[in-house]
């Protein structure tokens, strides 16, 4: 059976709703592991508060953060999927439906960048990226609402034939720029190469990879490991008030390019909002996160 407008609309609304009321399991595990290794007393207290906040949100069905961010969806359509209806409109309509029904209500965070007026709607909202999965008969939607901590501190610079040393020094520069601001411990995505937009998209996608997963490219796996140690040696710590835990993970990916090499660095704050599910051809919904 085809994947319908109604199914995409309902899932888009639900993914956003779910993302606000829980911290992903891999992220809570990451916080627990950090608690075991963190040496500073104040930082351990902050990490425990984070786990407490996550637990209370789930138990009492509350929002983890009051800033619900803006709706960001990443959609992957199987090349063999049969579609019925305007699924692009379905995502937008799904968000509108959520705004109308969600309890407690969302604050207005969609901002017109020319006037700074805020509401629930705006040009280009929701922010959606589209991808195709060869041969698949499903549609996958990942929802990652973005707010200040998970958006403001991202940066991109373009280099000419950079060495790994230059790339890693740039990552450190962006981390120091963000300092205590982005609700650490963060998940850091680094995108290398491609073009301006491709590098940014790779970095953003890298933040979505589960914490604790190992990069299947050995060169990148080694880079991720040493960058994580380097970032945590800065000392900003949980909530940027000091400690050994500034990042829970660094995820790096790349694409071939021309030799001018954009390097994009982006962050997700500690609550790491991220939900993902697949709509299958048999009408079932498979939820991953």
């Amino acid at each position: 059976m085809p994947i319908t407008y109604d199914a995409v609309k309902a899932l888009s609304a639900n993914l956003y709703d779910w993302s606000l009321r829980a911290v992903p399991a891999d992220t809570k595990d990451g916080l627990r592991r950090a608690l075991e290794t963190e040496t500073q007393d104040g930082a351990r207290k902050v990490l425990r508060m984070m786990l407490g906040s996550a637990q209370k949100a789930e138990q009492e069905d509350r929002f983890v953060c009051s800033d619900a961010g803006v709706p960001v969806y990443h959609v992957t359509i199987g090349s063999a999927a049969r579609l019925d209806g305007d699924i692009k409109a379905a995502i937008s309509d799904g968000f509108d439906e959520l705004v109308a029904r969600i309890s407690p209500p969302l604050l207005k965070h969609v901002t017109n960048p020319l006037t700074n007026e805020r509401g629930y709607k705006g040009r280009g909202m929701p922010l959606v990226t589209w991808d195709v999965a060869s041969g698949a008969d499903w549609v996958e939607i990942l929802c990652q609402p973005k707010a200040l901590g998970s958006g403001r501190w991202a940066a991109l610079e373009t280099f000419s034939f950079p060495t790994l040393a230059e790339i890693e020094a740039y990552v450190m520069k962006v981390v120091l720029q963000a300092g205590s601001q982005h609700c650490p411990p963060v998940i850091i995505g680094v995108g290398i190469g491609g073009s301006f937009d491709v590098a940014a998209r790779i970095a953003s996608k890298a933040t979505m990879r589960p914490i604790g997963s190992v990069n299947d490219e050995p060169v990148l796996a080694a880079m991720e490991e040493r960058l994580l140690r380097a970032l945590n040696a800065t000392g900003f710590g949980p909530m940027g008030t000091g400690g050994d835990t500034t990042a829970l993970a660094v995820h790096v990916d790349y694409a071939a390019g021309h030799g001018y090499t954009p390097v994009a660095v982006c962050f997700n704050c500690w609550i790491n909002r991220r939900t993902r599910a697949r709509l299958h051809a048999d009408g079932s919904v498979e939820r991953f996160e």
Binding site: L107, A169, Q181, T241
Partner: protein, 209 residues
């Protein structure tokens, strides 16, 4: 007994001065909050034009916390949730407000800049760092909504006076003695950077070999 010192807000100048950057405290009493830049701009205009703000701020707090406030059926007000926002957005506006109203406490997340630290030292005002993503904890500490002003603005921009009990623990990010955890940690990270980059080079060599 809680492991945290418990203080009442509005905070006395003496209590504010007794705190040191890095201390963690719990708070009872009354706080004033907003997450809105337009709101803080209105308060600056009040100060500059010698007008009274919607409710008195003298010697009190102004915390960068956003909240969802709404009317209740019995004519009262309720807050559905509350959480900090990034304070550095307000850097430019805060020194004047801290001085004019003699604030004893400001706060939010991420700290404030050196000009603010200077004003806070002059006046005797602390900065309280709240847990971001702590809405379930912070909201549970709200006892009552005392007053809401600037209701023409979106909910999180409104100026709200709240009664709280056991709010926190909150970290003193900046004290009244000119110490800022945020500045110290940024300087420390800059100082550590050469050694961090050298270690990365070593690690790359090992990975390559």
């Amino acid at each position: 007994m809680s492991e945290f010192r418990r203080l009442t807000m509005p905070m006395s100048r003496e209590d504010a001065r007794s705190l040191r950057a890095g201390d963690m405290i719990l708070v009872d009493g009354e706080i004033v909050i907003t997450a809105g830049l337009p709101t803080v701009q209105r308060l600056v205009a009040c100060a500059e034009e010698g007008r009274a703000p919607p409710f008195p701020l003298d010697g009190g707090s102004l915390l960068h916390l956003g909240s969802y406030s709404q009317d209740t059926a019995d004519g009262g007000l309720e807050i559905l949730y509350m959480n900090p926002t990034t304070s550095t957005r307000f850097n430019r506006l805060m020194p004047g407000l801290i001085r004019h109203f003699g604030l004893t406490a400001v706060g939010g997340k991420g700290g404030l800049d050196a000009d603010c630290v200077q004003a806070m030292q002059e006046v005797g005002c602390i900065y309280l760092s709240f847990l971001g993503g702590g809405a379930p904890l912070h909201s549970a500490a709200i006892e009552a909504v005392r007053e809401v002003a600037y209701s023409d603005l979106v909910a999180h921009y409104r100026l709200v006076r709240l009664a709280v009990r056991g709010l926190g623990p909150l970290t003193v990010g900046i004290d009244t003695h000119g110490n800022s955890l945020f500045d110290t940690l940024q300087e420390q990270a800059q100082d550590r950077l050469p050694a961090i980059l050298a270690q990365l080079a070593k690690d790359r060599a090992t990975a390559g070999g």
